[in-house]
């Protein structure tokens, strides 16, 4: 039986927005020159880059010269962390971060530790929400150079108390870096941050474009070898056609964000309710209310996560998983671990502008049987 494909992994990469496709093709024609040069073709490229930067800054609510385009969201996150630490190395060498940051942030933190720095991880509760008391204590400690907080969990969707965390940082003069990859283009990002990063393929832009925004007055110093492009914050020539497409799709996604959230949040509610009701022994994780509108995660007891992904794929469903067997390191997701929730049989479903109610219904109709079959095969029924 071949089923029509249902792509439910927008949190990894959203299907490209039609506006992104159009902008990409148009920019291939007249956006290929180096925007740093002094001839006609370069001036046209420079205009496109400037317009992309202004549009992105407008959406983020910042000044254009505070925005740099990076070769990926990961590069942006690395630069945000290492540059934020470098800029304040005279104050101290401690990085405070939540226990549920994206691996890009954690890998930058590992680099910081390897070069003699220290890190303080701040726990979350069972719903994946930051422990604000622990956070406030951590940022107040002497020698904190930077604090990093994801705006909303990329794995379980729980929205973090960014405004409160930012206030705690502001009280003690510690700059806050927010990884807003899952929020930008979908939900507003609260004010109060000093550094922000995002990733275009999460909002329907092309892969290979990250955004690094550094507010004026922030002591941030590029961790990379010197390069004058992109405000000196990230080296190398930008992939201009992709940047143009990213900016165009961000504007389109942000314009539709409220309507999309209104459409998708009830579908996520439906998934949360129906999975809990119709799949036995399942744990739906993440905050049921303070969450992203498009993302839901659950774990099925006694089910192998990899087997579940493959079974869903055979029925046409593309989803992601935080189970250890699906990771290259064979470790369970650090996010699920920090929350203390079941990590095996884990499925993350994330919706996007092309997701229909019928897609969600088909998923909900087929999932109980798929899980039941896997449990029957494994001989774990009735445990």
């Amino acid at each position: 039986m071949s089923a029509s494909p249902v792509y439910l992994d927008a949190a990894t990469a959203a299907p490209m927005h039609p506006v992104a496709r159009q902008a990409l093709l148009a920019a291939f024609d007249d956006g290929w020159a180096d925007p740093g040069k002094l001839y006609t073709q370069a001036r046209r490229a420079r205009q496109l880059l400037d317009a992309a930067r202004e549009a992105t800054a407008l959406t983020l609510g910042v000044r254009a010269d505070e925005v740099s385009f990076t070769p990926s969201g990961t590069t942006a996150a690395h630069g945000a962390v290492l540059g934020g630490l470098s800029g304040r190395h005279r104050v101290g060498s401690t990085l405070v971060h939540s226990a549920i940051e994206h691996s890009a942030v954690l890998h930058a933190a590992e680099r910081h530790v390897a070069t003699g720095g220290t890190v303080t991880g701040v726990p979350v509760d069972r719903l994946g929400r930051l422990d604000l008391t622990a956070w406030s204590a951590a940022v107040r400690a002497p020698g904190v150079a930077l604090a990093a907080l994801i705006t909303a969990s990329h794995e379980v969707g729980t929205v973090q108390p960014v405004a409160e965390a930012a206030a705690a940082c502001a009280e003690v003069g510690v700059p806050l870096y927010v990884d807003a990859a899952q929020s930008v283009g979908r939900v507003p990002v609260p004010a109060g941050w000093s550094v922000l990063t995002a990733s275009a393929h999460k909002w329907g832009g092309p892969p290979g474009v990250g955004v690094l925004a550094v507010r004026k007055g922030t002591r941030w110093e590029s961790p990379w070898p010197a390069d004058e492009r992109e405000g000196g914050r990230t080296p190398g020539v930008v992939n201009l056609p992709a940047v143009v497409a990213a900016a165009a799709s961000l504007r389109a996604a942000a314009a539709d964000a409220a309507a999309e959230a209104t459409r998708l949040a009830p579908l996520v509610d439906r998934i949360r309710a129906r999975v809990a009701a119709e799949v036995p022994d399942v744990e739906v994780v993440g905050d049921p209310v303070l969450r992203l509108p498009h993302l839901v995660t659950f774990s099925c007891l006694y089910v192998d996560g990899e087997a579940l992904l493959h079974a869903l794929d055979r029925r046409g469903f593309a989803v992601s998983s935080g189970s250890s067997c699906t990771s290259s390191t064979l470790r369970p997701s650090h996010v699920l671990e920090a929350m203390g929730v079941l990590s095996h049989g884990n499925v993350r479903v994330s919706l996007h502008r092309e997701t229909t109610e019928a897609d969600v219904e088909r998923f909900l109709t087929e999932l109980p049987g798929i899980v039941a079959d896997l449990r029957a095969e494994a001989g774990v029924v009735g445990l």
Binding site: S323, S324, R331, L342
Partner: protein, 75 residues
């Protein structure tokens, strides 16, 4: 000390959890079963299973036999 030990070393999750779920109903209420499991996911999943099933998770120990998780049958 545990009343009995289940050796799940070398098994990947969810197998150690399944082994605990199979064994616990077979022992008297109050019995402490130790699960030896070297899959790192067991550290998350055995306590989570206890919470979901209303069994008591007593804690983990890291002894000469590697990581171990003690579970007491509650009902």
């Amino acid at each position: 000390m545990p009343d009995e030990v289940i050796d799940c070393r070398g098994q990947r999750c969810p197998l150690p959890v399944i082994a605990a779920a199979r064994r616990l109903p077979q022992v008297p209420v109050g019995t402490v079963v130790r699960v030896l499991a070297d899959d790192p996911a067991a550290a998350v999943d055995i306590p989570a299973w206890c919470r979901m099933r209303g069994q008591e998770f007593l804690g983990s120990v890291n002894g000469p036999e590697g990581p171990a998780y003690d579970v007491r049958r509650q009902h």
